[in-house]
Symmetry: C2
Subunit: 526 residues, 2 copies
């Protein structure tokens, strides 16, 4: 038996509380090593008073490059569980596995409490279950400056004609909230039931990830009245609304940073950033004397460990929930912000809106950001990006399956259902361009996306064949001229979304299996 | 290469932040499979701008039954890291390992950001480093009713002569706070610098784990003035003081439960417990209609998810810190209480005393209770109990080493240094009795305890040869008659404690290795 490959960890994603009294158990073993896994389990106190140990056979689940996963859904009437695994390998050898490691399969060993893993007491609140609506949601991501211009009176100076390329950094085309409102019926018709808006707060840029004032709508996008109409209009159509906040760094035109630039260490915001020396700027060696996002001077990193900063940012996020009834927040560069802050912020937001969806941006496996009082989910690029590589023929079917299964096993099932699954976003090249304009591949990739657990998202325009390379070309103006839209593709996406929504419960929870035969890959959900 | 055995997980105990800009990396592989592990690492942004990838060879560390651990202390100047492992097996085969799994060792693969694990940004606050004083502390656990009777005027009715056996449940002998105060010099002489007191709050029992009023000292133990004198006397001698709180359940004589019994669902405490039906009691089938600790009717489980309960318990714990300046809290049955509550409570206590030591009771591996805003450490029975089994000759040397190393690898190094390592407590038989009165084994076990990382604890009387079987016999009166004390043993313990305290920094951080040769086990710290 390959002991090195056998692993289980209580109160990790290996033990997902699905509901009161119900836990989904996982065990990892080496591939092609184990014939059978049985789970032995009991309430410790009742067992010590003579109640029998129960047992059940686990199911072989997904496999990664090196490991086989085994799963079992267990009912736990008293909410307390001790348990251990009895493994039988392909040669018929048996072994026990529990909290102290491996033990010989003898009655004497199975009688010792210390041999067992513990789930001391299940509190369903500790499951931190994501809002149930998320798994039924198909999102549509809007880059507001480029979606639709509904009010030319609020256009920036030097606005360019809609759709005129090439798109440059800090091109302006006049898109705004009114434009989104005007097209809510189109989005409802497409089947969308969640809007994810890139930042809408005041900012000098087109992308607005360099916020000036988190409490104000950028005037080029409209007014708070417009935003209220947008939220109400979305809700009236059964759509949730998610806003985007950048708390890792502020723009260098934010009043806080400008005050630091002006007043140095006497600024009341001097502790709002990570500043090594005053005045802020570059040392003789050319190094910045403050921390930033990446290496750019214009995005000073925020000191989210400062309680005053925490309160300000909590107030910001509560404000848009309490005043406008938004349903979700997406947090930019969440992985570079401290966990202590996220715990405080997420707790405060769930206190005002228990079913708020809290999503962190990350580009890699991010178990540390999910649960433990933090996010419901992260942007799930590690699951979605291999789909693009697969359909471009740059990944073997086996490698695709291995990578995908690795990601599917990284999180608890309820979180996996709430993961934000996008094939393209404002941060990536557009799918159609990655696929060299092959719309068949776009259809295939979207279909596979819809078949996987998680909350899928369509980047604006993908449904009508909008193309675009890396930033800023991925932020072209939405194509509204039907003669230039791929209406067949739109029809396909509409049908796909309708099908997905009709089966979202099934797709969230049903078993996944893959069969690779030659050049053919079969995905079965059952 | 045994892929199944290779595992690393960012932002888990595999990546312990030791200090600002410093991380202790761990990787797990199969035993006897890997010849060399190299870590490749860089700041992602600087690397993408052309800075070179760095690399360093990891050290072979501890081994468990199936796995070999590899470690490396890495300096991270910018606080941001991407990294991947290059593994070379005994046959000379090489392979890369990172966030997407295993990859061929080609330059093309090493050039892809997605191949690497991420530590997006290290915030030393997220390390949640335990107080530095804990690793330098040798604790002494006192069961107050049995340590010393310093004031016969406060004795319970029907008090028995000191030391008269057999000890029964709810025997009373008159021990109290004044008795502890009277012996502070003895404890200082022994070398003790931490006092852990079992509960001292009002309660009808001798053990006082069934609290009536968390804000009051039990009158049989003394007064708040006595307690203040005890804390001040301890502090004057360089000793920290830890109190013990039971928040999983209340005693059935608590005013809250009595109110529920009297007023049923109209009680203002009806939501303070987990009650299925009113009036509280037994159903026709004999089952209790409320949740309890274990299966006893007298210990109703507290609803720690109720915000009012949370505030009450936070107020309790803050009170004893703010009014009496205690240094630590030990929480009984911590593993059966919800994590959300512990996060709120621990956060509130660290806000009033940043270097407070917060310890949870658990009897098994408990990574879910440590960090993530919760405890500094847990009671480390899985590390200490095998020592007893080892010296009783019931465990092979290899099995002892495997079990011990498994536990040593369960937590981050800073938490491992703060683990509460006790060979016997009020909840176990006494070591001397487990060892069939062989004091040589007591000396050996204490010596091994002192050589391991963690914060060691002596159960009162162990140092003078106090014996006792399981509860209640393990709670015999302290032996104060020197003619009945094992003074040689006390001298040995005194010397051992002095040596431990002189080398506590070294013992907390130095490498551990074990050599088994026949019947000989060598532990090397270097
Ligand atoms: Ca406009
Ligand atoms: Ca007394």
């Amino acid at each position: 038996m390959q002991l090195a490959g056998i692993l289980h960890r209580p109160e990790s994603e290996d033990t997902a509380i699905l509901a009161d009294h119900q836990v989904l158990m996982r065990l990892k073993t080496a591939r092609q090593d184990i014939e059978q896994v049985e789970l032995y389990y009991a309430d410790m106190y009742l067992w010590q008073e003579g109640a029998p140990m129960q047992h059940a056979t686990m199911h072989a689940g997904l496999a990664t490059q090196g490991n086989q996963y085994w799963t079992l859904n267990v009912d736990i009437p008293t909410n307390r569980l001790i348990y251990a695994f009895k493994l039988t390998d392909l040669a018929g050898e048996t072994l026990g596995y529990g909290d102290e490691g491996f033990f010989d399969d003898t009655a004497a060993n199975w009688a010792v409490t210390g041999r067992y893993f513990h789930l001391p007491y299940l509190h369903v609140s500790d499951a931190e279950l994501p809002p149930a609506w998320v798994k039924d949601t198909v999102w549509y991501q809007i880059f507001p400056e480029r979606f639709a211009n509904g009010d030319t009176t609020n256009d920036p100076a030097n606005v360019q004609p809609w759709g005129q390329g090439p798109v440059k950094r800090d091109s302006f085309y006049g898109g705004d909230l009114k434009g989104i409102i005007n097209h809510l019926d189109d989005l409802a018709d497409l089947g969308i039931n969640g809007l994810y808006l890139c930042p809408i707060f005041t900012s000098p840029s087109d992308h607005k990830y360099d916020t000036i004032d988190h409490f104000e709508i950028d005037p080029h996008f409209g007014t708070k009245k417009d935003f209220q109409a947008l939220v109400d209009g979305a809700h009236a159509r059964g759509m949730r609304v998610m806003l985007d906040a950048v708390f890792n760094h502020f723009g260098d035109h934010s009043p806080q940073w400008e005050d630091v630039v002006k007043n140095g260490q006497n600024s009341r915001f001097a502790d709002w950033f990570h500043i090594h020396d005053f005045p802020v700027g570059r040392n003789a060696d050319g190094q910045l004397n403050y921390e930033t996002f990446a290496t750019g001077a214009a995005m000073p990193k925020v000191n989210t460990q400062n309680p005053a900063v925490q309160q300000y940012l909590i107030d910001v996020t509560k404000y848009w929930i309490e005043q406008f009834n938004i349903d979700a927040w997406r947090f930019d560069v969440a992985d570079e912000v401290d966990h202590g802050f996220w715990r405080n912020l997420c707790g405060a937001l769930r206190a005002v809106k228990p079913d708020v969806y809290l999503l962190g941006e990350a580009w890699h496996s991010s178990q540390a950001l999910v649960n433990n009082g933090q996010f419901d989910a992260v942007m799930n690029y590690p699951l979605t990006q291999p789909i693009l590589v697969l359909f471009n023929g740059e990944l073997t079917l086996d490698d695709y399956v291995g990578k995908t299964n690795l990601q599917l096993m990284q999180y608890r099932q309820p979180n996996q259902q709430a993961m934000f699954n996008a094939l393209d976003t404002h941060d990536t090249a557009r799918m159609l361009t990655i696929f060299h304009d092959d719309t068949t591949k776009v259809r295939a990739a979207l279909t596979l996306l819809m078949l996987l657990p998680g909350s899928p998202c369509i980047y604006y325009g993908t449904e009508v064949g909008l193309a675009g390379g890396p930033d800023p070309d991925n932020r072209r103006c939405m194509e509204w001229d039907e003669t230039n839209q791929d209406l067949d593709l739109r029809q396909f996406v509409q049908t796909l979304i309708a099908w997905r929504k009709a089966h979202s419960d099934f797709l969230a929870t049903s078993a996944i299996s893959w069969q690779v035969q030659g050049a053919s890959l079969t995905l079965t959900r059952q």
